[in-house]
């Protein structure tokens, strides 16, 4: 058999060397390696060979096969381009349909990931809310001028003797007291609380930079010994992770009825990094509000303000997403259009 293998191999090689077209090479390949090819037939006969010779012949057969294949490939390469079998590797791929997640979803994912890694628990509290959770529990009694900041929609719905009328929550801060109440029904019933509440909010406003429906993310931390320094540390960590390690944050005094002290938080502009440029005018961009939880709010949530302190912040998802990507979307309302020409860009 050894001789046969050697003969077939040499014969094949001779034919391959002489071939000068792709079709010819294809025919040779079939004649030797095809289903009924000469070498294939030899392989089939291997079982007739006495066992002690089988291994050696097997090796030779394999060697012959790979030699023929290699000569075929080499000869194909030697053929002139015109003689080769035509193949167009530049043909456009048949793509599967490509889907898109909304920019707001992408933003929410990044935000939740960052806070979940810091041990925060993600929750979602009602959009249609009692006046008490949206305002009164947050130290804003009825008729308080501070309520003007939130241009609130009122719903023609239920009125509760204790909780007041039905409103569309103008901020995710309605989740603060709800989260404190939730904690009472878990484990020890006591803090720590590390909440990240992401939900839709509504305000009576509509122009190029405001939409009546938008999203906020609200952080709430309550534990023993929580300080302004912790708030600073947390917000700075978020900004560095979300916007980039070169970014810095700062606090400015502000006023919210439900935090004391209260702050506005700024982050350095992504273009000039705080030096001041045409885009940011002064180096800083406003992120949103924050503060140390007001003792009256802790009391309303059933948490002793002499034992626990906390901080909270509530910022716009749309706002941080647009700031992050430096998207120059001229009209924020475009985010909520269903135009595929817009949605497919992201």
């Amino acid at each position: 058999m050894k001789e046969e293998i050697s003969n077939i191999k040499n014969e094949a090689i001779a034919q391959i060397m002489e071939a000068d077209s792709a079709t010819e090479l294809e025919e040779i390949s079939i004649a030797y390696l095809g289903r009924n090819g000469k070498l294939t037939n030899l392989i089939k006969r291997l079982k007739e060979v006495p066992p002690e010779e089988r291994k050696e012949n097997g090796i030779l057969l394999n060697e012959a096969k790979s030699t023929i294949q290699s000569f075929l490939a080499t000869q194909k390469g030697k053929l002139s381009v015109t003689a080769r079998k035509w193949f167009d590797p530049t043909v456009p791929g048949a793509k599967p349909p490509i889907g898109h997640l909304h920019l707001v979803t992408q933003g929410i994912r990044q935000i939740s990931r960052i806070f979940e890694n810091l041990g925060y628990v993600r929750v979602r509290y009602p959009e249609v809310e009692w006046d008490w959770y949206a305002f009164e529990a947050l130290n804003m009694p009825k008729g308080h001028p501070a309520r003007d900041m939130w241009e609130t929609f009122f719903v023609d719905g239920a009125t509760d003797p204790k909780l007041g009328q039905t409103v569309l929550t103008p901020h995710t801060s309605n989740g603060q007291v709800r989260e404190m109440q939730r904690i009472h029904s878990t484990g020890s019933g006591l803090p720590p609380i590390r909440m990240i509440n992401i939900a839709k909010c509504y305000r009576r406003q509509s122009d190029a930079s405001h939409v009546p429906m938008f999203h906020q993310f609200e952080g709430l931390v309550i534990d023993k010994g929580i300080s302004v320094a912790h708030l600073k540390g947390t917000l700075d960590a978020f900004a560095k992770e979300f916007f980039g390690p070169e970014r810095r944050t700062r606090l400015r005094p502000y006023h919210f009825q439900f935090t004391e002290p209260s702050f506005e938080v700024d982050v350095t502009c992504g273009i000039c990094l705080g030096k001041g440029c045409k885009v940011c005018k002064g180096g800083w961009l406003e992120l949103g509000g924050a503060g140390m939880v007001h003792p009256a709010v802790l009391k309303n949530g059933g948490i002793a303000p002499n034992k626990y302190t906390g901080f909270a912040f509530g910022w716009g998802v749309e706002r941080v997403v647009m700031m992050k990507s430096c998207l120059e979307i001229p009209d924020i309302r475009l985010l909520y259009s269903s135009d595929l020409r817009f949605l497919r860009q992201f």
Binding site: I98, P145, G233, R252, P261, L335
Partner: protein, 649 residues
């Protein structure tokens, strides 16, 4: 509240070398937020946002006082000087020229002075310019004096034509519901009741106090004698009235924040000086000042540890004092305890946390450390929907779906049945809280009517189902719409989704509202409907699942099925059926015809003929052709009996 402060005017009371830019930056970091610096004419003007608790800084003097405390922290010397007044009249709780009857719950301090023989003229240019820069229009010296003092002190004042106050008598009381009054802008108001009004001897209402004067007592070109009028009103009444009547004057915006009663006297005296200078009028010798409950100094008590714990830093007693004193607070230490006396203009400072804020903002938030959180992490919530929702969105977008966020506030025609209505919508196009996503997604599809290739839009959002006497149920719902695509392609996506979510589902044809008859499937697990899919009356293909139902039906993991050791036999058979046979039922039946049939798929259809690929699988051996034939015969027999289907020869 936004105010405009002209730089030049500010520097009349604030001595500093700080540039406007530096001043704005320091003020923003430690006090009031300067939104921008603008040029009005030749003058630099600061646009400043005043928060509701800090009405004390809503004036030229207020900002000067803040800046004088803040700038030195940035090593820029600054000095605040109070305005000088010359009026030396003494004050009395009753005077001859005006008899009063005052409800002290409505008016905490009532002061006035008669000024005779005034001459109306235009104001000097300097005053006119300051008013223009502050955002007011100069009118004449009388009106201008009022505005000037309001911008300078943050204290609104009013001027009556003295001779129009019948009987020289004022009764300040709460209005009765339905009483009428015309304000000096000519608007007639029907009062809601509980408004602060002033009535004269004839029973006429001559002032809507704190909001706007009455037309019948207004100064006009013939006015000779005026009553200069400076008050502190109850903020709650002022706010209620100005909101109810939508009469938001600068005066009412200041009054409703609760003004400092101690501001009345300096503002009045400054006003007397201005009347003397600008109108050549002669003030009376006595000031009427009814102030039954003068400000008593309050103190807020706290301690060193409290302040440092809240800030996360170790300040010394001296550092704390040095932050408080320039703001007008008077700290007294007793060991580690501190008692801080509050000036009358800082009544917003009530609790120890307020002291913390004052210390920190002057010390500088920039000087506090950034400390990461430590301590115990809270327990996560079981069965949280967020990861599940992410998964669903990933699958759908992975198969070409495009996620949309449509408005939850919709017009009536998109709201669905019994939807909740807003009391104060922005317009008819956003008046209701939707009870279904169906109409919103159809609208989203229509917005892309120019697109001719197939597309798939989906959304996960709440719908709001009203409940009597309670908040609505907010039902997080997945819904989607397929456009320009075949029923099979669309249904395939839903089947794939259900499979990837490990849901054991079945499709049951059932009609429902909005869908074409016989073109809707109820998607069930057991007897429970978890969603729906079908062709809408508009021709679009739509699906919808409440997320909670979907998540409940979804298993995290499938159980393990051993991989068979023996190859399955696979063959195609072609069948034909009578018209109106549900293929879904046929395939279900085929799968259950014999336990050795492991899988059935429709692989081809041509006219009335359907080719099915059948997998025959025995767990412990390879089936022989004979055995397969037996199963096949049984299968064909079942199909024939059940559906009247027959094998193509």
């Amino acid at each position: 509240m936004d105010i405009k402060i002209p730089d030049k005017w500010l520097r009349e009371y604030l001595e500093t070398k700080a540039t406007p830019q530096k001043l704005a930056e320091c003020l923003s970091l430690c006090g009031e937020s300067v939104e921008k610096i603008e040029k009005i004419g030749n003058e630099t003007v600061y646009d400043i946002e005043i928060t509701t608790n800090r009405v004390d800084s809503a004036s030229v003097l207020g900002i000067a006082r803040e800046a004088s405390a803040i700038l030195p922290r940035f090593k820029i010397p600054a000095k605040f000087t109070q305005p000088m007044t010359h009026a030396k009249q003494r004050t009395f709780s009753s005077v001859n020229y005006l008899k009063t009857n005052i409800d002290h719950n409505l008016c905490f301090r009532f002061s006035a002075i008669l000024i005779k023989n005034i001459k109306i003229a235009t104001s000097p240019l300097d005053i006119q310019n300051k008013l223009i820069e502050s955002g007011a229009r100069p009118i004449n010296n009388i009106v201008d004096i009022s505005n000037y003092i309001m911008f300078l002190f943050g204290q609104p004042i009013h001027t009556f034509d003295y001779d129009k106050i019948k009987g020289a008598k004022m009764h300040l009381r709460a209005s009765r519901k339905g009483e009428e009054l015309t304000t000096l802008d000519g608007k007639k108001h029907k009062l809601p009741g509980g408004d602060i009004v002033i009535e004269d001897v004839d029973g006429r209402l001559i002032d809507l106090a704190g909001i706007m004067g009455g037309l019948n007592s207004a100064v006009d070109e013939n006015t000779k004698n005026v009553l200069l009028f400076v008050q502190t009103y109850n903020p709650v009444n002022i706010r209620r009235t100005s909101m109810a009547l939508a009469a938001r004057s600068q005066a009412s915006i200041l009054f409703e924040k609760g003004l400092d009663t101690e501001l009345v006297d300096p503002a009045l005296r400054y006003g007397i000086d201005m009347f003397v200078n600008l109108t050549k009028g002669t003030p009376a010798d006595e000031i009427l000042d009814i102030y039954p409950d003068p400000y008593k100094v309050k103190a807020v008590k706290t301690n060193l540890e409290f302040i440092n714990e809240r800030l996360g830093i170790s300040l010394t007693k001296d550092q704390i004092s040095k932050s408080l004193v320039p703001l007008g607070f008077y700290p007294r230490w007793s060991g580690k305890n501190i008692s801080v006396e509050i000036p009358s203009y800082r009544r917003d400072v009530e609790i120890p946390e307020d002291i913390v804020e004052e210390v920190a903002r002057i010390y500088g938030y920039r000087n506090l450390p950034d400390t990461p959180l430590s301590g115990v992490v809270p327990i996560p919530i079981n069965d949280s929907p967020f990861i599940f929702e992410e998964k669903v969105k990933d699958f759908l977008s992975g198969w070409g779906g495009v996620e949309v966020y449509t408005q939850s506030l919709v017009p009536k025609e998109l709201a669905g049945p019994e939807a909740l209505k807003l009391k104060n919508p922005l317009g008819k196009e956003a008046e209701y809280l939707r009870t279904s996503l169906m109409l919103s997604l159809e609208k989203a599809a229509r917005e892309n009517s120019g697109v001719t290739e197939p597309f798939h839009l989906f959304e996960i959002a709440n719908v709001y189902l009203p409940r009597r006497g309670d908040l609505p149920v907010e039902l997080m719902t997945l819904a989607g719409v397929f456009v320009n695509d075949s029923y099979e392609n669309a249904k395939g996506i839903i089947e794939a989704l259900l499979e990837k979510l490990n849901i054991d589902y079945k499709f049951v044809p059932e009609d429902s509202k909005g869908f074409l008859p016989s073109q809707r499937l109820s998607i069930k697990t057991g007897q429970t409907e978890i969603g729906q899919f079908g062709v809408l009356e508009s021709g679009l293909i739509y699906y919808e699942f409440p997320i909670e139902s979907l998540q409940k039906a979804s298993k995290e993991q499938r159980s393990f099925v051993p991989i068979p050791n023996f190859p399955s036999q696979i063959e195609d058979i072609t069948l034909s059926f009578p018209a109106k046979t549900y293929l879904g039922d046929v395939i279900e039946k085929m799968k259950s015809a014999d336990k050795l049939i492991s899988e059935v798929k429709l692989v081809d259809k041509f006219k009335d003929f359907f080719t099915f690929r059948i997998w025959y699988q025995h767990p412990t051996k390879t089936l022989t052709d004979r055995e397969v034939e037996k199963i096949r015969n049984r299968l064909v027999e079942t199909i024939k009996r059940q559906f009247g289907g027959f094998l193509k020869d």
